[in-house]
Subunit: 345 residues, 2 copies
DNA sequence: ATTCGTAATGTTAACGCTAACATTAATCTG
DNA sequence: CAGATTAATGTTAGCGTTAACATTACGAAT
């Protein structure tokens, strides 16, 4: 409205230069604190640039430097309390290093995930941080991405051994540990509410569960294992299925792939008129913000979400800024949080 | 690792053109589905471009068009359950319209907010979506932004009458309504845990509270009003202060500016060995994911967070794409959620 | 065939900026 | 004070793309 050119009312280097009768290079040097500019000239330029409301055009700068100081973040579901914490950590580090983050939510949809990544790539982000909704079936997509040289760090849900770093937690061990906690409390009939095993965490946690059973000589009862999604409604649905079994064929304890699923399952149990832990002991994973508030506070595995975010961002930025940065697989330490839902006092 | 040029392994239009012996314009036309390209040529080009792994460089495109298809989103605290829902709505609409979102978290820090916006502006985002941590004291910063012509839409926390649209809820009326609910239940000694009044929601909600008192001829007792932040610890701290009053000088009911504050306050009450609603009735605002799970489920005001996000994004995009789009102040409808913390049966 | 009209393709310049080289002005040196 | 340094400034070209104009090709109409 107050501007002639197409640059949306933004002042350009050249305009500042013309206003002062110097060359654009001198202005560029002055503004970017490059050497070989007379101190007086620099001050004059800075003053005028400021008065004119000059803001550097990073788009143009990026075209020259092929560096955007933007990183893409691909998340399966922002409304899970785990992810906002992760994002907070990512944002904090990115910001400190003068990067901005593009956030995309895929709603656990691999197609949407791929589309988002294409969009990010077209925007020439310097790298991407991905928690994938499909890590086990078809690697080819990510193999291509990594091959193309786009710096990529997985977090939480990783694809292993394809040349990208991974920042997660020890899902296998933690899942085994929490299952063993149940076993040690005397439960023998233990069911498992799984998420899709095409996702690393789905597979790892399930494997940890099975390992715990094996270690203690317990059998895996296929009828007690369901595979659904990662949300409350999935847990509700899965538990409803188990509740349809004749009473004497039901498990006595439940391990859920994550807290939302556990919370959904608890709802199904409550609706069926039964109680946690009296009728069913149950444990989750992730220490959702709601976990301790449940009618029967949920025993779960606490994940250091904020730390995962910080570590992932810092690893990505290192990888971007130094291509000799080694590929690394980091497993942050989880903590078993024992509450009442498993029947502990 | 497999590339000669500086373009980070990205294939350029010119490279595709050279590979086929045509001009870059022809390739550009073919790829962008412009008319006047022979069908056979187009197919040949598309095929080769695909084989070579061509991805358009949006940075270059943006420089030409001065349009980035990026929007900035400025949020005070992503870990509040309200905001991830909003972001989800924003992302959904933005994505549908082929925009990407830059997410920044300001941690309620106005200085950080300004820095983020400068960074977004330098990146030449097409517009910004802001929930500001300071909406009442000094408008000059945002006046300058709006004056500069950068499309801006506020959400949740707005600055009114300075030329930007605002998507929020009717904080005043909802706060008045929930306070009246308390009054109607017979409470007369009502305290208020406020957030900073330099933020619109802080002011509006407090004013609604006062209006309800006035309407029913109740006095505002200054000693029962505290002003802190918007988080759990702030609520805890504020309530602790009230609890230091001699027993007969304490309020009997509490209105909290939002749910996190109410939840913090409930914790303080519990630690003091008292009960909700028996010793203190309490109500919140925002319908946090934890509200219904509290030991005494929290009566609160439900805000349509997801809708706020969708509406804000769509308003911003309309404003970006059509500068005759009118400035608008939208108040979405909240819903009073009555649970047990206010003493209702 | 010649001319014309349109479809297909090409060329140039520009978006805002900076690296690299070129020039000019200021400062030394003996 | 001439000649040589060095500091300050300027000029050119190019990052990848597209708008605008220029040229060429080709089938249709005479």
């Amino acid at each position: 409205m107050k501007n002639k050119k197409g640059n949306n009312g933004n002042v350009t280097l050249k305009e500042v230069a013309d206003a002062l009768g110097v060359s654009t290079m001198t202005v560029s040097r002055a503004i970017n604190n490059k050497p070989n500019v007379d101190e007086k000239t620099r001050e004059r330029i800075l003053k005028t640039a400021n008065e004119m409301g000059y803001t550097p055009n990073l788009v143009a700068k990026s075209l020259v430097s092929s560096k955007t100081y933007s990183i893409g973040v691909v998340i399966p579901e922002i409304s899970h309390s785990f992810f906002p914490e992760v994002v907070k950590g990512i944002e904090e580090i990115a910001n400190k290093e003068h990067y901005q983050i593009f956030l995309t939510n895929t709603s656990e949809d691999f197609e949407k995930e791929k589309k988002s990544i294409e969009a990010l790539r077209a925007k020439r982000v310097d790298g991407i941080l991905v928690s994938s909704s499909q890590t086990e079936e078809d690697f080819s997509y990510y193999e291509k991405i990594i091959d193309s040289g786009l710096p990529l760090v997985f977090f939480d849900r990783c694809i292993g051994n394809i040349g990208a770093s991974c920042i997660g937690v020890n899902d296998f061990a933690a899942s085994q540990q929490i299952t063993e906690h149940l076993i040690n409390r005397g439960y023998k009939k233990i069911g498992y509410l799984s998420g899709p095993k095409k996702v690393s965490i789905g597979k790892e946690r399930f494997d940890g569960f099975v390992a715990a059973l094996n270690k203690h000589g317990l059998d895996l009862n296929e009828k007690w294992v369901t595979e659904n999604g990662y949300n409350e409604k999935d847990g509700y649905h899965a538990m409803s299925t188990l509740l349809k079994l004749p009473e004497n064929e039901r498990p006595r304890a439940i391990v859920a792939v994550n807290d939302p699923v556990a919370i959904g399952a608890m709802e199904a149990i409550r609706e069926a008129g039964m109680k946690v832990p009296d009728d069913f002991a149950i444990v989750g994973f992730s220490d959702d913000i709601r976990a301790e508030l449940m009618p029967s506070p949920l025993t779960t595995v606490h994940q250091p979400a904020y730390e995962v975010g910080k570590k992932a961002a810092s690893k990505l930025i290192k990888t971007i800024e130094d291509n000799t940065e080694p590929i690394e697989s980091v497993q942050l330490i989880t903590k078993l949080i024992i509450r009442k839902s498993c029947g502990s006092s």
